[in-house]
Symmetry: none
Subunit: 224 residues, 2 copies
DNA sequence: TGGCGAGTGTCAACGTTATGTCAGCAGATG
DNA sequence: CATCTGCTGACATAACGTTGACACTCGCCA
C-alpha cells in the first residue's frame, strides 16, 4: 500500500510519515505542487493525502488534475478547520474524504484504511454493458467491436450512466459529474438535455437504441 | 432519498430537516434512542445522521445495533468537537463519516450526498412484499416478474405504504410524506384520493387487488 | 496572430406527462 | 335519514423533456 503525502509543513509531514510507516504503509512526500505533479505521473498511489493550502498554488489544482486523469479516487483532503468552502469544493471534485487540521494521528489512520478498503471494490479500467464496452484509460467506446466516436462530455456522461446502470441518476448528479462544480450550471439542465440527445443519437446510429431511459421528474437510467 | 436524523437538540434537528428538505431529501427525526430504534426497524434509510451524545443512552449503542443488522452503511456520526474518542470508535464500528458540532449546513449536505453516492456502488437496494418488489435505486416496481410503471408520486406513495405495512397511515402522514412540506396541500386530501385511486388501479391491473385497504376515518393500510 | 471548426452551452417553441382540483356520486356511520 | 367520508372521471395547468437552430469558446493549425 503506497501513500502520497502532499503537505508543505515539513514537521507535520514528517510525523505523518513516521506514524503511517508504523502501520506498514509505504509513504512518499511532496512539499509543493510541482513536486506532487511529478510524483503523480510516476506512480499510482493507493491513497493521496492532499493539503489544500499549499504555498505555490492551491491544492485544488492538483485535485483537478487528478480528476482529469481519473486518479481522484482515494484522495483525502487535509485543510485548516476554517476553510469549509475548499473542503466542499474538494468533495465535489471527487475527493473521497477530508480531515481537518489539527487532527489526531489515529484518526488519520482510520480514514486512510477506510479509503483503501473502499477502493478495493472499485474495479478495473473497462466497463461493459451488453454490446457496449468502455475503456476508461483509452477513452474509447466499442459497440459490437466497432469503435464509436464520442466527445469528451459524451464520454463522461456515458461512463457515468453505465457505471450506474439500472439506477436512476438525477440530473443534479449528472450536472455535478459533468461540470465538476460550475455553480452556474448546477441548476440549469438544458445542457444535459443536449448531451443526452447527442449521446442517444450516436448510440442509435451504432445500433443501440433505447438504452438510455428518461425517468420523468427524476433523471435518466441506463438499462435494457 | 430518505434520511433519519437522530438528534436530541430540537432546534438543531429542525434546521437540519429544513435544509435537507430543500435539497429534496425526505427527512425523519428521532429525538431519543427508543424513538430511533423504532424508526430504524420501520424503514431502510439512505443515510442516518447520528448524534453520539443522546440523553437516554449513548448513541454508540444505536450504531452497534445498526451494525449488527447490517445497516451501518450510510451512517454519519455527529459529535461535539471534543469527543475525539467517540468519533474514532464510531468510525471503527463502521460509520461512514463524521461531522463535528458546530457544523455548516452546506458541509452537511456535501457529506450526505457523498455518503449516498458511495452507497450507490454498494449494490442494489430492493424491498419486497409478497409478489411486489420495489427497486429503490432503479425506481421500478415489479409484480410477479412484470415491470409496472408508476409515476413518481405513485411510487413514493407505494413505498410509504409498504414501508408501513400492516399499519394504518393517516392521510396527514401521507400528505406530509408526499408533499415534503407544502403547507397549502397539507389539509387538502383530494389529491391523496387521486393518487390512491391510480395506485390501486395500476396494482389491480398487475394482479394485486385489495392490498391497499381504506380505514374509514383514519387513513389507509397496506396488508394482505 | 487570426481564423476555422469541433465541441459545448443557450434558447425558444413545442409535445408530453404528471398532478392537483372539482363537482357530483357512493358508501359508511350513528 | 342526515351527515360525514371517501371515490371517481374529467379537466386545467404546471412541470418536464425534446428538438433544432444558434452562439459562444477554445484549441489547433495555417
Amino acid at each position: 500500500m503506497k501513500i502520497l503525502i502532499i503537505e508543505d509543513e515539513k514537521q507535520l509531514a514528517k510525523s505523518m510519515v513516521q506514524f503511517l510507516k508504523e502501520q506498514s504503509y509505504l509513504c512518499e512526500v511532496a512539499y509543493n505542487e510541482k513536486d506532487a505533479n511529478e510524483k503523480i505521473l510516476l506512480y499510482d498511489y493507493d491513497c493521496i493525502l492532499l493539503d489544500i493550502s499549499l504555498p505555490d498554488g492551491n491544492g485544488l489544482n492538483i485535485l483537478e488534475k487528478l480528476k482529469a486523469s481519473n486518479k481522484a479516487d482515494g484522495v483525502i483532503i487535509i485543510s485548516a478547520r476554517n476553510s469549509v468552502d475548499d473542503r466542499i469544493k474538494g468533495l465535489n471534485l471527487g475527493a473521497d474524504d477530508y480531515l481537518s487540521k489539527p487532527f489526531f494521528l489515529p484518526e488519520l489512520n482510520a480514514r486512510v484504511s477506510a479509503v483503501i478498503r473502499r477502493k478495493r471494490f472499485a474495479g478495473s479500467n473497462k466497463v461493459s454493458y451488453h454490446e457496449i464496452t468502455v475503456d476508461l484509460l483509452g477513452k474509447t467506446v466499442t459497440v459490437n467491436d466497432t469503435e464509436v466516436d464520442f466527445t469528451r462530455k459524451e464520454f463522461d456522461l456515458l461512463m457515468f450512466l453505465i457505471s450506474n446502470k439500472d439506477r436512476v441518476v438525477s440530473k443534479n448528479a449528472i450536472a455535478e459529474h459533468l461540470t465538476g462544480d460550475d455553480a452556474d450550471l448546477m441548476d440549469k439542465f438544458d445542457f444535459i438535455y443536449s448531451h443526452i440527445k447527442n449521446l442517444k443519437k450516436k448510440l442509435a446510429e451504432a445500433g443501440c437504441e433505447d438504452y438510455i431511459k428518461t425517468v420523468y421528474g427524476l433523471g435518466y437510467k441506463f438499462s435494457t
